[in-house]
Amino acid sequence: MNPDEWLRAFAAELHHRRVRPDDARHVVAEAATHLRDGGGDPAVVFGPPGRYAAAIAESIGAPPPAPAAPGPVRLQARGITKRYGRRTVLRDAGLTVRAGQIAAIVGANGCGKSTFLRICAGLISPDEGEVTVTGRLGYCPQQGGTSDFLLPDEHFVLVGTGQGLARGQARRAGRAAARQLGWDAPGDVLTRHLSGGTRQKLNLTMSTLAEPDVLLLDEPYQGFDRGTYVDFWEQLGRLRDAGRAIVVVTHLLNQLDRVDAVLDLTPAGGTVRDGGAGWGGRA
């Protein structure tokens, strides 16, 4: 592939990845200048056009897709107050998430993010407030939630049986959900032998296996490498596009441009705001 052909393919890949036209022109011009001044085979200098375009798109961010009409409300938490002894962890917190939306819960350590999520999941009771969930609920805990001496497939069977799936069906669904995270779930490795990040993939896979309508994720990406982390957010994007309502507890603020709403539980905050640019801005 000569430089001109490579640049044309590169421009097409950038367009395919929805990089803004101005940004794409700028990046292609820079690459052309580099090739003209430095010479060399572009496939060696930059690599395949598709891969380089993917790296560029990830580094500068893709523009928001055309806003879709918000779906019906799937999760509504109102007036949530929770006290542990004299300490009030949550005061009148609320969140509404519609089908096809991702909401992030952010805040400092100990501000009640996980508590809020566990209240939404019905695992603990608030002192005040109520939660309404429409459809099936899925929950991924921050840690734990797997069994050391079971195989990944057995986890899929365990969760799938609860949903009324046959064993084979549950295994297939689990492996398919795992592949969405770039993970080929092994059939013969005990969970205790999986790395922390892979175990977390199993944890996440278990929560998405039954295709819940509302998905609650408590910092599910701990231990993920960068590639898996990107896969994770792409998976969330696909689930959102499929009409799921997703709530993610996160402290990684650089990902907030991919969400539609943010609940800030910092004591001075306690507010819901739009997610801003990036993927959405749909609150």
Binding site: L123, V133, G162
Partner: protein
């Protein structure tokens, strides 16, 4: 039923893969049996029964503690509390019987002139009571160390208390001791009847308390309203 069987199966699979634990579960009753074997065989049999009880209840305690984080998500996945605690209990009962079987054979070959049917019933009582006892302690005490110490206390009391005293009947494994006396010392049938009744009552009582604790812990919270998709 399918859900309960799946939980029982997974409990068994987990336990059978912990080979070190299995070895210790066998070693504990064996040690109890051998330590007094040179003296009176009745004492060895009673000690063995206590060893089986201790081993099975400890396994139940740890299985319950290990599943503590998993159970809420299984509840959300469609399991009801009774699927979880009964499934786990069935799995542990099966595991307990598997552990007890070689010891029954050991006694059958090693100790002559016993009522072996009585020995089998005593072992059945041990396993029947031990599984829900361990589950109950695991459910009430979230940390394994506290649970283990409580179990140790219960077994020590069981070991040291005067079996003829009124207080002995309040201990969970009194049934197996009573039945073992019938089996070893060829006492009257009252021992067998009292022991069997005690074992049955304690097992049923334990299961009921476990049911209450799990139903409370894994209950549907009132603040959460589920609506079907419209």
């Amino acid at each position: 039923m399918n859900r309960m069987v799946t939980v029982a199966e997974m409990t068994l699979r987990e336990l059978l893969r912990r080979r070190g634990v299995l070895a210790l579960m066998l070693l504990l009753p064996l040690t109890f049996y051998l330590i007094r074997r040179d003296a009176y065989v009745g004492q060895s049999v009673r000690s063995l029964l206590l060893g089986i009880s201790w081993a099975v209840s400890t396994a139940a305690l740890f299985a319950t503690s290990a599943a503590r984080e998993l159970e809420p998500r299984l509840r959300l996945a469609g399991y009801r509390p009774h699927h979880l605690y009964l499934g786990r209990m069935f799995g542990l009962w099966v595991a307990g019987l598997v552990i007890a079987l070689p010891f029954f054979l050991l006694i059958a070959f090693d100790a002559p002139d016993l009522r072996y049917g009585g020995v089998a019933v005593a072992m059945l009582c041990c396993v029947a009571v031990a599984a829900p006892l361990g589950i109950l302690i695991g459910a009430l005490l979230p940390r394994e160390l506290e649970g283990t110490l409580l179990l140790l206390t219960i077994v020590t009391v069981q070991m040291l208390i005067d079996p003829a005293g009124a207080g002995a009947k309040l201990t969970p494994f009194w049934s197996s001791r009573e039945i073992a006396t019938w089996a070893v010392d060829h006492t009257d049938d009252g021992y067998l009847a009292r022991g069997s009744l005690h074992g049955l009552a304690v097992t049923v009582g334990m299961v009921v308390v476990v049911a209450a604790v799990f139903s409370l812990r894994l209950r549907r919270r009132r603040h959460l309203r589920h609506l079907p998709l419209g």
